[in-house]
């Protein structure tokens, strides 16, 4: 059964799909590590491992890059 992470992840990758693949994957990984709770990242990896057919191919690539328990280090300027 497809979890909510598939729907949410597919939504994200559709918004980066216009970029070259490597840049798109990096952008989505960065987004997920910045905003997604680790358990959601784990669940997404589990969906990939289970061969969920509802996943966008780009999302499958993203899941392979998501780091275990490490949030993206925010470096942007702050107000």
């Amino acid at each position: 059964m497809t979890g909510p992470e598939a729907r949410l992840g597919n939504d994200i990758v559709r918004h980066f799909a216009h970029l070259p693949e490597e840049q798109a994957v990096e952008s989505v990984v960065r987004h997920m590590e910045t905003f997604w709770d680790p358990r959601m990242r784990r669940d997404l990896r589990a969906l990939v491992a289970a061969g969920d057919v509802a996943l966008d191919p780009l999302l499958v690539l993203v899941a392979g890059r998501l780091r275990e328990g490490v949030a993206h280090q925010e470096t942007e300027a702050q107000p």
């Binding site: 979890g3 909510p4 729907r7 949410l8 939504d11 994200i12 559709r14 918004h15 799909a17 216009h18 987004h31 910045t34 905003f35 997604w36 709770d37 680790p38 358990r39 959601m40 669940d43 328990g69 949030a71 993206h72 280090q73 925010e74 942007e76 300027a77 702050q78 107000p79």
Partner: protein, 942 residues
């Protein structure tokens, strides 16, 4: 504190740097050129009697009370209509002037009844003025009673909040002018001529007139002809407390005028403050009158618990309730992990209250599962403006619109949702600014008295990004952009220009998606880009889409490519939904950010709070509200502390939300009322209304306003004390002596709030963050000279259509919104007389869509989507475009969110409330799912 009415200078201030010096009764005073003699005299401490003049209205010169003598001038001119000139010498109190004033006052009194309620109670400026001018005797006689007044008419008591007594009216026109100049509704007029002149609400009673009950006329009235029912009922107030409204994101300042002391304190009326930076003396029907919910009988004042949501509530002590919360949460963490619980804070609460909730979650719960109701409204604003400009907030103050030449209004309906700013916008439009409205509905600003939009572009729901890209495409390809600004201030310029110039973004290519005539769109682009100052104002019609964040960035692009950023009159301005949406976001209520929008992974920031809070803090983002629901259904999220938000009614896909709440082991609701969410709660903690709170709200223009308690907490604790008590019961010491101490901690740890304290706010009034060493009194305009992030980021805003599509089964698009008199889920306004205007939600539908379905206005109709259905009454309206229907979500009986879906903004998960594919058909009976759910009675033991 005493009752201290604000000083009335008689005529409005003049904004110019040129000055003139005049002498009035021997006092020399220097004032801006163009200032009236009346205002200059008040400045000099000389009070000139007046009746038709007040400083919120242009001088009228009709009452002949403010007469003065001027050296070298003939006669006795009215000081309100006479501008000062350099060297002018004015005498205000000669025998001749006094005699004339007495005579004029005698004429007024000769038509004013001796039994006037206002005169007796002290609510009559004219009575006071009569004493000032020494008009003790009325040679022409005076009516003893109301009935003896010539042309006496019945008192109009139709409005639930104020009455109009024609016999007490002196036809000074202040009400008529307030309605037109301040509110911009033009509902009042003077009928008849000479002695037959009478004030009229368009020839009908107030309730059925065009009046929007903003209260401007009541405030302007110098007699008690227009008077609040509450003043009649409770008598005149004896003292006042300056505070801030708890409705929309405008954040109006009010003087709560009260009588009685201690537990007997009663609010007599709320009077908008002229010194309020956001509202400058104006108000709307909600802030001015709809405060009665604070004392409504539904208000819960005691903690309650129950073991199961099927049990009845049991009133318990605070200790027992807090203990149940703490032991329950700790047990869930022991059994299911640290991340099994979380909290939701409210944009209805103060900065101090929400700051303490996020501290509780991060330090006592030990995770980052904290979110706020901004998730479901303006989270895309935070994301989009941070990506492009570097800070998660609007760029201007409200006053900025006074310098705007072209207003681009997208997905917002200010006259309903942000009425006080809507009035300000109307005023600017009457002065000649042009307006472009991009909204599927024909909102009031498209055409209303003395206001007409230059263009109304009925953009189809879901197509905003295609629309904004098409505007930018025209601007770039037709050379309307500001090349110098782009090159100097922005980055990724070439990549953006290549992207936006692509023919796919042209008005012609996007017309099918947006529904906009390319010629109209090109005209809009020329109008916006060609203006000396063009400003974008937007609302939830932008954010509540699956591409909400992209659209916010698209609007930021538009401002950057035209150089409309970094000065007065321009900018990108979110009209925030709730009173403290901005503040709750500022205070670290998102699961990935500490206060001041600093990511939880930033080591230095985390270390700062770890040292202060004496606990290790999680470097990973936590769950957002929709993620909490999904995790609850997955079994990994088991306990929730909800402060002041009714997620069971306000969040989309009601069935999904209800199932998630049912799946949790411990739901704690802290609120004024047993709301819909409380139906799924195990512990109820009574909260406090804004009239009991001590703290600050931050409005849509980043203005930090003081909220001061009118009376002490009716539940025995302040909300931040409740939160701290939960922390302590969980073994984490949280202690503050007062709300000022919380703000001191915020200021010490949040750079943008470094210069904020209760003492400074009390001394200087409101301030707009950043407030720091560089800007000790705040920052009205952001990004002057440089963006907060350095260079502005031009983002390639690719249009990705929503997955929510119409089809044969669901051929219409539903979009939702607010109306003027109700507010969000209606928890407050439904418990006031505002129900007179909006007793139920209705479905607006275009005549052609109605006709093919056999629907007439007033018919009960079924509204169904792929996730649910509900029943409501139809309103056939040409305000709607064909194919789009609209409703509000103010009443639980309607349960509009039964039909909205789980679709959300890709970046922030803000729900896509504005796009739901639906079908509408005539209903025989009201048998919707919402009724069964929402109206199940709540059993309580009092």
């Amino acid at each position: 504190m005493t009752l201290a009415p604000e000083k009335d200078y008689g005529t409005p201030p003049v904004a110019t740097t040129q000055t003139v010096t005049v002498t009035i009764d021997g006092h020399e005073v220097t004032v801006p050129a163009g200032t009236s003699v009346l205002r200059a005299a008040t400045d000099a401490g000389v009070e000139i009697p007046k009746l038709c003049a007040t400083d919120s209205l242009k001088a009228f010169g009709s009452c002949r009370m403010c007469l003065v003598e001027i050296d070298g001038a003939r006669g006795v001119p009215a000081s309100c209509t006479t501008p000062c000139s350099d060297g002018m010498v004015v005498a205000t109190g000669s025998d001749e002037v006094r005699r004339l004033r007495r005579q004029v006052m005698e004429l007024y009194l000769s038509e004013h009844p001796e039994d006037c309620d206002g005169c007796a109670s002290g609510n009559c400026e004219m009575q006071a003025m009569a004493r000032t001018v020494d008009a003790a005797e009325v040679r022409y006689g005076r009516p003893h009673t109301r009935d003896e007044v010539a042309h006496a008419a019945p008192v109009d008591l139709s409005n639930p909040y104020f009455g109009f007594d024609p016999s007490a009216c002196i036809v000074c026109s202040r009400c008529v002018r307030a309605c037109s100049e301040v509110q911009g509704t033009f509902a009042l007029t003077v009928e008849g001529r000479g002695l037959e002149s009478r004030i009229s609400a368009g020839g009908t009673e107030f309730l059925s007139s065009e009046c929007v009950s903003c209260g401007a006329c009541v405030q302007a009235c110098p007699t008690s002809a227009l008077q609040e029912h509450s003043v009649v009922e409770l008598g005149m107030p004896t003292r006042s407390v300056e505070t801030t409204c708890a409705y929309c994101g405008v954040g109006c300042s009010f003087r709560a005028e009260v009588s009685g002391e201690g537990d007997d304190t009663r609010v007599v009326r709320m009077v908008p403050s002229k010194s309020g930076g956001a509202n400058e003396g104006h108000s709307c029907v909600k802030g001015r009158f709809a405060y009665g919910y604070a004392a409504h009988q539904d208000r819960q004042l005691h903690p309650m618990v129950r073991d199961s949501i099927d049990d009845e509530w049991r009133v318990v002590s605070w200790d027992e309730a807090i203990d149940k919360v703490a032991t329950g949460f700790r047990a869930l963490q022991e059994d299911h992990g640290v991340g099994a619980i979380g909290g939701i804070s409210s944009s209805r609460c103060t900065n101090e209250e929400v700051y303490v909730v996020q501290r509780l979650v991060r330090a006592a719960f030990g995770n980052n599962n904290i979110d706020t109701c901004a998730r479901v409204c303006h989270s895309p604003t935070g994301y989009g403006l941070k990506q492009t400009f570097g800070t998660s907030a609007g760029t201007q103050d409200f006053r900025s619109v006074d310098q705007t030449d072209v207003i681009l209004l997208i997905g917002a309906n200010p006259t309903d949702a942000h009425p006080v700013f809507g009035s300000r916008m109307k005023r600017r439009l009457r002065q000649g600014a042009q307006l472009i409205v991009a909204d599927p509905r024909r909102i009031e600003l498209v055409r209303s008295p003395h206001v007409e939009a230059a263009l109304h572009l009925p953009v189809l729901p879901g197509s905003n990004v295609a629309f904004v890209n098409a505007l930018a495409h025209v601007i770039v390809t037709e050379g309307l952009h500001d090349e110098a600004f782009m090159r100097a201030r922005c980055e990724d310029v070439d990549a953006y220009v290549d992207f936006i110039a692509h023919p796919d973004n042209s008005p012609e290519a996007t017309a099918e998606v947006t529904g906009i005539d390319p010629a109209q769109l090109r005209a809009a682009a020329h109008l916006y880009a060609g203006a000396p100052n063009a400003a974008i104002y937007y609302g939830l019609g932008v954010t509540e889409h699956s591409q909400g964040s992209t659209m916010v960035m698209g609007m930021a692009n538009l401002a950057m490519i035209t150089g409309n950023i970094g000065r007065e009159g321009v900018g990108v301005n979110p009209l925030r939904g709730q009173n403290n949406v901005q503040g709750s976001c500022d205070m670290g209520s998102f699961p990935h950010e500490f206060p001041g929008y600093r990511h939880v992974s930033m080591d230095d920031v985390r270390e700062l709070y770890e040292n202060l809070w004496d606990r290790p803090l999680d470097a990973e983002p936590g769950l957002r509200i929709p993620n909490m629901f999904d995790s609850a259904l997955a079994g990994t999220f088991r306990g929730l502390y909800v402060q002041g938000e009714d997620i069971a009614q306000s969040d989309p896909n009601t069935q999904h939300v209800h199932a998630a709440l049912r799946a949790m082991d411990l739901v704690v609701v802290q609120d004024l009322f047993l709301n819909e969410t409380a139906r799924f709660a195990h512990v109820f903690l009574p909260g406090t209304s804004f009239l009991e709170k001590d703290g600050t709200f931050t409005n849509a223009e980043r203005r930090i306003n003081r909220v001061r308690p009118v009376f002490s907490s009716k539940v025995g604790m302040d909300e931040w004390e409740i939160t701290c008590a939960i922390g302590r019961a969980m073994g984490y010491p949280m202690q503050y002596d007062n709300a000022a101490q919380i703000m001191a901690e915020i200021a010490a740890t949040t750079p943008t709030f470094a210069g904020v304290s209760f003492a400074r706010l009390d001394e200087h009034g409101s301030m707009q963050w950043p407030v720091n060493e560089q800007a000790p009194y705040g920052t009205p305009t952001m990004h002057v000279g440089e963006f907060v992030r350095g260079k502005g980021h031009l983002v390639q805003t690719v249009f990705v259509p929503t997955t929510e599509r119409t089809n044969r089964r669901f051929p219409l698009i539903l979009t939702t919104g607010r109306i003027l008199t109700q507010y969000n889920v209606g928890a407050q306004t439904r418990r006031t007389s505002n129900n007179v205007w909006h007793p139920e939600d209705v479905l607006e539908i275009h005549p052609s869509d109605a006709e093919v379905r056999g629907i007439s206005t007033g018919d009960l109709v079924d509204l169904s989507s792929r996730v649910g259905s509900t029943t409501l009454r139809a309103l056939v309206s040409e305000r709607m475009p064909p194919g789009v229907v609209y409703t509000t979500f103010h009443h639980p009986v309607t349960g509009a969110n039964v039909v909205t879906t789980e679709n959300s903004d890709w970046a922030t998960n803000c729900p896509e409330y504005k796009v739901t594919a639906v079908q509408v058909g005539v209903a025989n009976v009201r048998t919707d799912e919402a009724v069964g759910e929402a109206h199940a009675p709540l059993e309580t033991h009092a």
